[in-house]
């Protein structure tokens, strides 16, 4: 079909989204897309989620952190933000979602908000609560493996190795 004249084309806003999860999480593009759609459908209902017209355009996730671009119709950024806030897990894995910013073009969105994923993750033994554990370190953030799952910590919470 012939494409629409410019003044009838929908206007979009692009939301740059930062993602965070536990180190063992495996979050797929399709899983996240589904979670966003369900969150929008459940929170906003069919009519308003159709208005918001959320679509996942970019997605990258590795080693418990990632980023994405979600498209929303102009004027529906508020509901889109609310729907994204309600994405609390993907395929049963808890996920932290944070809208870093909103742009009018994909390129501006990428240049301004993406590509600043936290540094490379390292794995090392750490001492947490007087106990030697496996730690997944990125910058000064540390996810510590434990008997009851992971605990989020920072370098400040670790005890020195010498004890």
């Amino acid at each position: 079909m012939k494409h629409l004249p410019k003044h009838l084309q929908p206007r979009w806003r692009y939301l740059a989204v930062g993602l965070e999860a536990w180190p063992d999480a495996d979050v797929s593009r399709s899983g996240f897309q589904r979670a966003v759609w369900y969150a929008a459908g459940n929170l906003l209902g069919d009519p308003r989620s159709a208005d918001a017209d959320l679509r996942l355009l970019r997605f990258e996730f590795a080693d418990g952190a990632g980023e994405a671009i979600v498209r929303a119709r102009r004027g529906e950024v508020g509901p889109a933000r609310a729907a994204l806030a309600c994405v609390s897990e993907v395929d049963g894995q808890p996920i932290g979602v944070h809208v870093r910013g909103v742009s009018g073009t994909i390129r501006a969105c990428e240049e301004r908000y993406l590509g600043r994923r936290a540094g490379v993750r390292a794995e090392r033994r750490v001492v947490f609560e007087n106990d030697r554990r496996r730690g997944y370190v990125r910058d000064d953030r540390v996810d510590v493996a434990g008997p009851k799952g992971f605990a989020g910590a920072t370098e400040l919470d670790l005890d020195s190795e010498s004890t």
Partner: protein, 229 residues
């Protein structure tokens, strides 16, 4: 704006991790509503860009035990919250001036009516709007949570009772940025200004109580210091 969080070992992220995440998402501070958690507040404040408030959340099965805990903990902490969830606990909290915040009043079998809302207004006990279930549950559970929030909102507005807003995160992954909470509030019927006020209220409460705890404070309106200020 402040968020009140469950830090390790109550939740699964430490106070320092919450503070780091909150700083990144645009908060001015975090309130550590501790049950078991005993972070080193001075060190955490030193290391992070946001304020970290020393608070406790009293979780007791009945008002008798809650009362003892409130009395015992009040002198040592900036904020004292009491978790509601039964009618008796809700009533106890709003009638007790030593309590700063009644949390999760509508959880479980808890309910609030105009009498309790008025008592809360008289005693200056903040009632918490808990957005957590709206963020993290779905279906019938979320419908009930939304229905309760609406009821609470109408009662609080009618009584002009003070309130706070929180998403009750138990890990840094559950923390949501203030702008996201404002947007969510807008969708579920809160005035954006209400949510903002509720998030700020934590900080204002902390400041008031710190001032009250300071040496120069004698009682409201009476302070030690130099004349002419």
């Amino acid at each position: 704006m402040y968020e009140a969080v469950h830090a390790y070992p109550d939740g699964s992220a430490t106070a320092a991790r919450f503070a780091a995440t909150a700083a990144r998402t645009g908060y001015d501070g975090v309130v550590i509503r501790a049950r078991e958690a005993t972070p080193d507040y001075a060190a955490v404040r030193e290391a992070s860009d946001v304020d970290v408030v020393d608070a406790v959340e009293v979780v007791a099965p009945d008002p008798e035990r809650a009362s003892g805990a409130v009395g015992g903990l009040r002198p040592d902490h900036t904020l004292v919250c009491v978790r509601g969830g039964t009618d008796r606990l809700n009533r106890f909290a709003v009638e007790n001036e030593r309590v700063d915040v009644l949390t999760r009043p509508m959880a479980g079998e808890g309910d609030v009516n105009h009498v309790l809302a008025n008592r809360a207004a008289d005693n200056g006990v903040r009632i918490e709007f808990d957005l957590g279930p709206v963020l993290r549950t779905s279906g019938g559970e979320r419908v009930r949570a939304l229905r309760n929030l609406r009821k609470l909102r109408e009662l609080v507005a009618d009584a002009d009772a003070p309130f706070v807003v929180s998403a009750t995160p138990a890990s840094h992954l559950e923390l949501r940025a203030p702008r996201e909470l404002l947007a969510l509030g807008d969708v579920v019927g809160f005035d954006p200004e209400t949510v903002r006020t509720g998030l700020r209220e934590w900080g204002e409460l902390a400041e008031r109580n710190r001032h009250r705890g300071s040496e120069s404070f004698v009682e409201p309106g009476v302070e030690r210091g130099r004349h002419g200020r």
